[in-house]
Each structure stands twice: as C-alpha cells, then as structure tokens.
C-alpha cells in the first residue's frame, strides 16, 4: 500500500463561525442596499417605508412558524415522492450491487486494499445515487407544484412561504434519509459479505501535534525538504539530534494498553545495509521531570505500518545512569494529560519523513466497523441534506431544469472553481488576477516573470485585490464538498474523527440553513406563482 496517510486537519469552529458571519453579513448588507435602491427607483420617496414594512412582515412570518404546517408540507412531500415511486432507485442500487460482486472480487494479496476498494465502491455508488435522486426530486418539486397550480390551493391557506420552503426541505430530506439508510444497510451487508475472512476494523486514532527538531536539537516548525513538490512531510536527518516531536492528548479513561501506529517515509541518500530497512525509534519524554524513555528501535516498514504496543508500566534503561527503571505512562510521563514522543531516525545519512497523519496513538479496544461506517454515512447524509437545501432554494426562483443545472454547477463544477479561487484569493495564481493578466497579455509578458516595472506591478496587484475581496466572499458561498467525504477513513479501517471530519461537515451544512431558507422565502414571496 502507498505510504499515504490521511491528514487530519482540526476544524476551527470559532474561525468558521466568524467567517460565516462575515460572508452572511456582507451578502445581507449588499442585498439590503440593492433592494433599497430598487425600492427608491420604483416607488420614489415611499420606497424605503414599503421595503421596511415588507421586512417587518417577513420578520413576523419567521416569528410565527407553525410546526404543524411545516410538518404538513413535509408529509405531503414525502408522500408525493413515495407514491411517485422515487424509491425505485433502490432497486437500481440493489442490481448494481449484484453485478458489482462479479467484478469486484479481491486479489487477497493486500487484504486491506480490497476493503478499501469495497468501501470506496459502496460510498461512491450510494453518494451518487442519493444525490441524483435527491437533487432531481427537490429541483422539480416546487416548480411542478407551480406549473400544475396545486400550489395555488396551498398558498391561499394561512401557510407562510417560509413554512413551504422548510417543509419541502424537510420532506425531501427525509425521503433521502430513508433511501440512504436502506442503501447503507445493504451496503454494509455487502461489504461484510465481500470481505469474508478479512478483518474489518475501526481503529480509533488519536492524532498529535507535530513539530520538528533540527540536527542540532533546536526547534523548527518544518522538517527538511528532500525535494518533493508537495511538501506534506518534513524530513529528519538520521544519526543526529533531529527528531519529529509528536504530542498526544491521552484518553481520560487511562487504558492499560495503547498502540503506536505509524507509517513513515524513508528517503535514502545511500544504499545502507541490504538486509533491513531504515531504523527508527520512539523516545517518550517528559521535559519537566527530565525523563527520557527510549523504546526499542524498529525497522521502518515502508509499505505497511509499524505497530507497537505500549503498556502502562514501562521498564527501560536510563541513558545516564544505565540502570533499569520503571515509569508509569500516566503518572510519570504524561504532562497535563499530554504525552510527548520524539521520533528519531537511527541511520546516519538517511532521512525519515513524517507528517501529522503518519503517526497516531490508537485507543484500544477498537470500535466496531459499523460505528465508523455509519459515521461516514452521516457525512454522505449531510451532503445530501445540503444538496436538498440548495436545490429547494433554487427551485423557488427558477424552473426545474435550471435549478438542476445550478445544483450541478455548485456540486460538480464548484470544486475546480474552488481550487482556482483559492489560489486567486491567496495570491498564488501565477500571472496574477484579471487586471495583471490582461496587462501581461497586452505587453506580451511571460506569466511567471516579475514585471519590469515594479510600480506598475504593485498598482496592478492592488487593483486585483479589490475584486479578490468579493471573490473571497464568492468562494465561501460555494460549499466545499471535500469536507463531506469520509469514506477514506473507513476504507483505511479508521474511525472517523470528530474534530477534523464530522464537525466541519456539520458546520457547513448548518451554515446553509438560514441563508437558504431566507433566500427561498423571499423568492417565493416576491414572485407571482404563475408559470411563465
């Protein structure tokens, strides 16, 4: 297996909320200003009063939401989907799986890889099918309702437009949930059957904080670069004081047994000894107490992982006194519940690469496979819920096919756009933004060379920064779908971590509720419900 580890990135909720507030606030402010202008233009002096009257009315609508009415619309939506045989996709799904078993038989040389393939297949199929059904259903729901005028009979009842939007979202959401759960169960059974004889695991990783020591033992934030373009790993030099220092928060339950699991990368500058790979060792340390507890060295496995059990009581040879001693993991070594582990490479002239995701402490016992599997399903579910919200919102102001197209853009084309905008916003796009590019085009300057005229370049960059603010907003308006894919964790037999996977997806999905409902409400209230 490739030595690729999953890189956990902790989600900063406070920062997320702050960004949400900035983006939401800005968009709200801009729309308010635009409506104010529009109202002035159409109604003259009485415009603003009308606008604020309307907004007050909207506030009332939001204050007096009725759960019963929302439920009525949701139930209607659910019934509609079920009676229109939306659940038929489930049959498609089952058939797909029957055929898949023929083609996806494992080669059993690398059992973990087989499992990864099975899990990947299940999640990809389920995601696409549910997204497809959920998207089409919710894109066409309201427009059909308007076209057939059945909405006329509904909106002439005291139901508020926001209740319709919410009810629709809830209804389509529950249809998708039902489909997802059914498929999830079948998928799990299929995986379990496919991987008979293999162990399905759900290891619970505790990831650490990583910093590096250079060859003199001084602290640096980055390791060495051995010439990789993508610098995911920092390298440490063997036979020196260089080390990768991981700090782990130990579980509060203080289990008797922990397991260190790592998957480091070796970089050789010479052949070394033929009969073994590069050697490394862990050193547990507590600087406050001046404790250094080296564990036995091990050969770095390059295509699978190194595992080492660490018991609570550790006996070791003190490096200074050369005496045998025993320490307690929690009482002696841990510092405020944090354990520090230095990873050192022992071969002189060889290098060892480490990243945060390469080394984790595994909490024993493992969770059941179902736990991780269903957590990742929650990820898919959140993505579907987000799609339903966006689709229903879109269908409030455009017709079904256009809404579909819009969703497609957001979900599929949104990703490359995201990356591109990322670069533009951070100023990493080669050749600069629009104005600078245009200048380069006209002056026939190369994209990568700095412009001769420093002054000119600075001015152009400043001009380009202006729209980049709005681009930053635009970038944050499009959801980043990568947040929701958690199948990789399950495929690798890992539990889905809360802070770096579950929490961000939850936050993203939650962040869209209010804007979507607001947008849907206003578009549904301000338009005539007559098909054009």
């Amino acid at each position: 297996m490739l030595a690729i580890s999953l890189q956990p990135e902790e989600f900063d909720l406070a920062l997320g909320v702050q960004r949400w507030l900035i983006v939401f606030g800005t968009v709200l402010l801009v729309s308010l200003l635009v409506s104010l202008m529009a109202s002035l233009a159409t109604y003259g002096g009485t415009g603003p009063a009308r606008l604020f009257g309307r907004l007050g009315y909207a506030a009332c609508d939001f204050m007096s939401l009725s759960p019963r009415r929302i439920f009525a619309v949701a139930l209607l939506t659910f019934r509609e989907a079920v009676r229109r045989k939306a659940l038929l996709v489930f049959v498609v799904f089952a058939v797909l799986f029957m055929f898949a078993s023929w083609f996806l038989t494992g080669n059993s040389e690398r059992p973990e890889q087989d499992i990864e393939v099975y899990v990947g297949f299940v999640f990809t199929t389920i995601s696409w099918l549910v997204l497809l059904v959920g998207g089409v259903l919710s894109c066409f729901g309201l427009p059909e309702d308007i076209r057939l005028r059945s909405l006329h009979t509904v909106v002439t009842k005291p139901v508020r437009r926001n209740e319709i939007v919410l009810g629709r979202m809830l209804g389509f959401g529950s249809v998708c949930t039902l489909i997802l759960v059914l498929m999830g169960i079948v998928g799990q059974i299929w995986i379990v059957r496919q991987s008979q004889g293999l162990t399905l695991s759900c290891r619970v990783p505790i990831y650490g904080v990583l910093k590096f020591l250079d060859r003199t033992g001084a602290e640096t934030s980055k390791g060495l670069n051995v010439g990789d373009i993508v610098e995911t790993r920092g390298f440490i030099e063997g036979g020196t004081k260089g080390a990768a220092v991981f700090q782990f928060r130990l579980p509060k339950s203080q289990p008797e047994l922990l397991r260190f699991e790592s998957r480091f990368e070796a970089f050789r500058t010479h052949k070394g000894s033929m009969d073994r790979t590069i050697q490394a060792r862990y050193v547990l340390s507590n600087e406050e107490k001046g404790l250094r507890v080296p564990l036995e060295k091990f050969n770095v496995a390059e295509f699978s992982q190194n595992e080492r059990d660490v018991e609570r009581k550790i006996s070791y040879t003190n490096e200074k006194t050369l005496k045998k001693e025993e320490v307690d993991l929690y009482n002696d070594l841990a510092q405020d519940g944090w354990l520090t582990v230095h990873v050192q490479c022992l071969d002189r002239g060889q290098y060892l690469g480490a990243s945060r995701g390469d080394f984790f402490v595994r909490e024993l016992p493992d969770r059941s496979f179902s736990a991780g599997y269903w957590k990742a399903m929650v990820g898919v579910w959140l993505m579907v819920v987000l799609l339903v919200m966006i689709a229903v919102t879109a269908s409030c102001f455009v017709k079904g096919p256009v809404a579909c197209l819009l969703c497609f853009c957001v979900f599929v084309l949104g990703q490359p756009a995201h990356d591109f905008m990322d670069k533009l916003v951070t100023g990493k796009q080669v050749g600069g933004g629009a104005t600078e590019s245009l200048y380069r085009l006209v002056s026939q300057a190369n994209q990568t060379t700095p412009l001769d005229n420093q002054m000119m370049e600075r001015t152009l960059k400043t001009i380009d920064r202006l729209p980049s603010g709005s681009l930053w907003i635009a970038k944050h308006l499009i959801p980043d779908m990568r947040t929701f894919s958690m199948a990789a964790w399950v495929g690798k037999g890992l539990d889905v971590p809360w802070y770096s996977a579950m929490l961000p997806s939850l936050a993203v999905a939650l962040g869209y509720i209010l804007p979507c409902v607001l947008l849907g409400y206003f578009s549904l209230s301000l338009r005539e419900l007559e098909s054009k």
Binding site: L75, S150, P158, E530
Partner: protein, 303 residues
C-alpha cells in the same frame, strides 16, 4: 349602502408580462367595486374577460399592476387573511396522489387545526359533498365532478367567512349544481359572503344578489340582479283574462281607465338577455365603462 364592505377594489389593473417583462395581455383595466358582508356576488363575463384574474388578485396569487385591494380589511398579500377565506379554483388544483381523506387532512393542518377537529371536519365535509364511497381513492382516479366536489370541501374546511368560488358549477351534474346552489344559499343564510364567477347564467340569476359583468377586463355592468333586469321604459300589464273582442278595445279602454288592473310592473328579462346585450354593446362601443353613480356625479373617469 350601509353594510360593511368585505372587499374593496380601487382602479385595479393587471397586465400580464412575459419572462422578459414585455407586455402580453391587459387582463384588467381600472376595475373598481365593493362587495358587502353577507351578500352573494356574481362575476360574469365571457371567456378571457378577467374573472379568474380578479379572484387571483384578491387572493394575492398575482400582484396588481396598478390599484389597490382591501380584503377583510387587509392587503391582498397578507397571508393571515387566509384564515377566514375559502377558495375554490377554476379547476381543482389538488394533489392527485392523495385521497380525499388525506387531502382534507392536509389542508386542515395548514389551518393549524388539531387532529380531533380535522377528523370531525373531514367527516362532515365528505358527507356534505357526497364522496363517502370514494374517500380512500386517490384523486387521480376521480371524475371531473368528483374532483370539483372535493375541491369544494377543501375550500370550506376552515368554515370561512368569505368564500371565493371560481366557476363552482362547472363539471357538476344537474343534481350537483342544484346542491351547489343550495349550499351557496345556505352559506348566505349563515351570514357568509360569497363571490362566484360563472358562465351558467341561470345559476347566477338564482343565487346572486348583485353581479358585475366584465368584458375585456373592464367593468360593464354592476348592480342588484333584480334592478339590472328591470326594463324601465316599457310597462307590462297583467289583467284578468280577456276575450279577443275585448283585446281590440284595450287601447281605447286604457284611456278610459275602466279595466280592472291586477298588477302594473316593469317586465324582467332573463339574465341571459341582459348578458348578451351587454356583450353586444361592448363590442359595438368598446371603451365604455360602467361608472358608479357616486363617481359619475363627481365627474368620474368614464372614457
């Protein structure tokens, strides 16, 4: 009139525009009328004259291009007015995948009714419209008349004070229209206000207190049915039966005042005659509009 106006329409105009905002149709032109509490008001007019448009404007389904509407003292776009309104659309735009019970239950929920009330109301209404035998069949299997009936039931689910019926008798069998007319009279006797549009003039003549005749989006006639149907410049005599010989003498006799008069009256037309006459006149003299006397006195807007 001293009665309270439930609906007030002032200078209402509606222009349908297409997607790009270009004018398509001028469906209503400066319509002004009032409907009073407790009366049955009929909207008449040939196809495409703007009856449905008026109703939709009243309900806030469409937004007026010009003019103002006050309905139950509120603006047409205020959703809370719907608490007291029942609406039967031109065609019953209902969810075809629901059955009768579910349909009424759904609309009941929209009025925030409790489960108990909903069940009771559903029971009553299904009985009233005579759909007991088909209550568990999906609406897509219903005939036109049956759909009409369930549509009516849904309009009455909240026991509304103001009922708007767009062509209530279309698609109903004779018994059904009879029942519908009885129902309208019953609603009136309960003090409710009913606005209906119809082509079936006999129906309108039977039940309506006042009518408005629209043509090409303009108001051509407005008034009490019995007043409108009176011919003022002709007199009609009803006498005891007279012989042929007597008949020749009648003119002479008239001058001499020696016939026993049973009744002297203005003859009434059938509504059909009035309707056709109005339409014909409108075709001959387009642009002439009905102007209420009060406004005419003020030198109103007749063109």
């Amino acid at each position: 009139m001293s009665a309270e106006a439930v609906i007030q329409i002032r200078n209402l105009s509606k222009i349908y525009r297409d997607f790009w905002g270009r004018k398509k149709v001028r469906a209503l032109n400066s319509l002004s009328l009032e409907v009073y509490r407790g009366e049955v008001f009929g909207l008449l007019g040939p196809n495409g004259s703007g009856k449905t448009t008026t109703m939709k404007l009243l309900l806030g389904l469409l937004f007026p291009t010009e003019g103002e509407i006050s309905i139950l003292g509120k603006s047409a776009t205020d959703v809370s007015k719907n608490e007291r309104i029942g609406y039967l659309p031109e065609e019953s735009y209902l969810y075809r995948f629901l059955n009768a019970n579910e349909t009424l239950d759904f609309y009941g929920r929209l009025f925030n009714m409790s489960g108990e009330t909903r069940r009771k109301r559903t029971e009553e209404l299904i009985e009233m419209v005579g759909l007991q035998h088909a209550r568990r069949r999906q609406l897509k299997e219903y005939s036109k008349g049956m759909t009409r009936r369930i549509g009516l039931a849904q309009a009455l689910i909240n026991d509304p004070d103001l009922v708007l019926l767009d062509e209530p008798t279309s698609g109903l069998d004779p018994q059904g229209s009879r029942d519908m007319k009885d129902l309208i009279m019953r609603l009136k006797s309960q003090g409710k206000t009913v606005i209906m549009s119809s082509h079936l003039l006999a129906d309108v003549q039977d039940v309506c207190d006042r009518i408005a005749i629209l043509y090409g989006g303009e108001l051509k006639e407005l008034g009490r049915v019995d007043e409108l149907l009176k011919e003022r410049n002709v007199s009609q005599m009803q006498t005891s039966s007279i012989s042929d010989a007597c008949l020749d003498e009648v003119k002479a006799v008239l001058a001499k005042h020696n016939v026993e008069f049973h009744k002297v009256d203005h003859p009434t037309n059938s509504l059909e005659e009035l309707f056709l006459k109005t339409v014909e006149r409108s075709q001959q003299r387009p642009g002439q509009r009905y102007v209420p006397e009060s406004e005419a006195a003020k030198g109103g807007t007749a063109s």
